[in-house]
Amino acid sequence: MRVGLFVTCLVDLFRPSIGFAALKLLEAAGCEVVVPQTQTCCGQPGYNSGDRASAQALARKVLNEFEACDYLVAPSGSCAGMIRAHYPDLFSDQPEELERIKRLCGRTYELTDFLVNVARLEQVPGRFDGTVTYHDSCSGLREAGVKSQPRQLLAKMQGLKLKEMEEAEVCCGFGGTFAVKFGEISTRLADNKCNNVAASGADALVLGDLGCMLNIEGRLRRRGDMKTQVLHVAEVLAGTDGND
């Protein structure tokens, strides 16, 4: 099974360790992983800001880079959701490309979804001693259908206890450029999320999207919480610490 890893622009820039964790997990599941070197961004920032032309150009680029792979896997519900739920809209008036795009969409997965439903990863390499709580990122949950998959994988880990928080499915306020354009509202939503994380008493917040991670971790630290770890689910499952 030849899997193209779509690292995502945020992971590339901010936290490459997530990309390597994803790589490790995919290999542990027996996949042959390729990382197209010209990849950049899925086009979501442009798409959500109304710049359809640039989103389309980037979608076409992703298509060309990943079309030859059996699967496209991204450690992000947001980018996987962008491809699966929105790429077809970008090519709705171009039947030939639309067919190719649709075939790509059908083979595009968020990492944990892929590990559970396609690669059927049995042995999770990581180990984590402590309690974690899981934040469902909006696009992962509502566009890519990610809910039980990360929990199923975390449940396989010895020493890890999952304690669900209140409002796990409520938006953390990130929303891409929204986080800067409407900083005050965004901060309030992040604050609500921090309250729920704190109330859960978990040692670590685990989630599957780096955008939400930066937002929630940024707010936790500003509030003076230096203790609660904020970890990408790939890092936890792979057993690689975020600061390697």
Partner: protein, 469 residues
């Protein structure tokens, strides 16, 4: 109603700091969010009903002219008079002319968002007619001279104490503090108005083509008084409210109260058909129905048409994290929350509400709960596209998008720039690995740190790894 949607951001800041408002907004969570979830769980065929509901609305919109004409024919046959108002002003003019024709001095109103769109009360008052809002929430707002902040619970931004203060000041009676006592006081004040009003004004949740009826759902019974006691009943509503049959209306009614107030069904459902005839004990002698366009036909056939399915349940705002944080007044017009972020620019002009389609994280909670499956985030995104095409975006955003879009299409350059960026930001993060202040990113760092990058990009680390083998 005056449009102040361009002040969204400034207002939002005030609202976030308003402790009383924040406490009031928390009520939504319990009553409406949980209420909806519980009522939906009772239905074992919920998704099937939802699909049917969306189809009914789509069918009505696809044949809008046909159903509206059928409605007019059937309403006329029962003695009602149908008026067509292309604009809000025209609607107001028609109501004022009717008031003159029938010698109306006082009008009692039940809740109608379309009348808010038209600012009907102002028009009637300017014509020397006394208007009394009889929905408790709307009555409170009329006393306070405030606009509604929610389409179902217009006074959700006020606390019980606010209402006690207001009643004490305006009614000049001993202060009441218990909700039942406040309700009784309002009821006693309103009762004589029902009896002395010459005109009753209502809205309509649906208008039914096959019977020519207007249908309203209420919980207080004031709607029934307003539509049956006065000599003249005027119903004012939007043309998109038409449904083909009564059966269609009942299908929609399985969802409307559940999504609106968390009720299985509202206390009253009134189907108003025609005027009082010889056999009737009650009912109006004259029934006028004003069908208002005010921007609606412009949406037909375009990419916003799905918005006209809306049955005004309010679920999208109840579930919207942004609405929950800033309340309805920040949105600056009649309709707040996600549905308002689409309706306001559509009806009052995209250039008069630039923030609204952007004031959403596109979390899609609204789209998931909407009983008629309106893809609200997709419509907001379409409006963003329109802003972009028309050059209505602020220049820093335009520039940022252009730079990002262009660089991301040039991988070699992107690789160089992202390496520099990752290093610079990592340096700025220092030993703490957190950036406290980000130039050009003040919106972020005013309330949050920015966790610093690890220092190298994935792509450069990966190629090093490959080279090492």
């Amino acid at each position: 109603m005056q449009v102040t949607s361009m002040n969204f951001k400034a207002r939002a800041g005030e609202k976030l700091a308003d402790v009383k408002l924040q406490a009031a907004l928390r009520k939504l969570q319990g009553n409406f969010v949980k209420g909806r979830a519980d009522r939906v769980a009772e239905l074992d065929n919920f998704e099937a009903i939802r699909t049917a509901a969306a189809e009914i609305r789509d069918r009505a919109l696809a044949n809008l002219d046909v159903y509206l004409e059928e409605f007019e024919t059937n309403a006329t046959a029962r003695g009602a008079v149908v008026h067509w108002a292309e604009t809000a002003e025209e609607a107001n003019r028609i109501v004022c002319e009717l008031a003159v024709r029938y010698g109306v001095r006082k009008a009692a109103k039940s809740k109608s968002m379309v009348s808010e769109e038209c600012a009907l009360n102002d028009a009637l008052e300017a014509a020397g007619i006394e208007v009394i809002e009889t929905d408790l929430g709307e009555y409170i707002l009329q006393l306070a001279h405030e606009p509604p902040s929610h389409i179902v619970a217009p006074v959700v931004h006020k606390s019980k104490e606010d209402v006690s203060d207001l009643f004490e000041e305006k009614h000049k009676l001993t202060r009441k503090t218990r909700i039942p006592d406040l309700c009784r006081e309002a009821r006693e004040i309103l009762r004589p108005h029902f009896l002395s009003a010459d005109m009753g004004i209502s809205g309509a949740n649906f208008i039914v083509a096959e019977t020519g009826s207007t249908l309203i759902v209420t919980n207080e019974g004031n709607g029934r008084m307003v539509t049956t006691l006065p000599r003249v009943h005027v119903a004012i509503t939007g043309i998109e409210k038409v449904v083909p049959t009564l059966e269609d209306a009942t299908t929609l009614l399985r969802l409307l109260p559940r999504h609106g107030t968390g009720q299985t069904i509202t206390n009253y459902i009134s189907v108003n058909t025609g005027v009082k005839d010889a056999a009737d004990l009650d009912g109006p002698e004259h029934f006028h129905i004003i069908l208002v366009d005010a921007g609606r036909t412009k949406l037909i056939g375009g990419d916003m048409q799905a918005m006209l399915r809306c049955i005004r349940c309010g679920a999208c705002m109840n579930h919207c994290p942004v609405y929950q944080s800033v309340g309805g007044h920040a949105y600056g017009w009649v309709y707040p929350g996600p549905m308002g972020s689409i309706l306001t620019p559509s009806y009052v002009g995209i250039e008069n509400a630039l923030d609204l389609p952007n004031a959403s994280t596109l979390c899609n909670q609204c789209g998931v709960v909407c009983p008629v499956k309106i893809p609200l985030p997709d419509l907001m995104r379409k409006l963003r596209e329109r802003q972009f095409e028309r050059g209505l975006k602020p220049w820093p955003e335009k520039l940022g998008l252009a730079l990002w879009g262009w660089t991301a299409r040039h991988p070699a350059l992107y690789a160089v720039l992202s390496r520099i960026g990752a290093r610079m930001l990592a340096y700025m993060g220092g030993a703490e690995k957190r950036i406290h202040h980000l130039p050009l990113g003040g919106g972020w760092t005013a309330g949050r740190d920015m966790p610093a990058p690890q220092g190298k990009t994935f792509r450069e680390l990966y190629s090093q790894k490959i080279r090492k083998g």
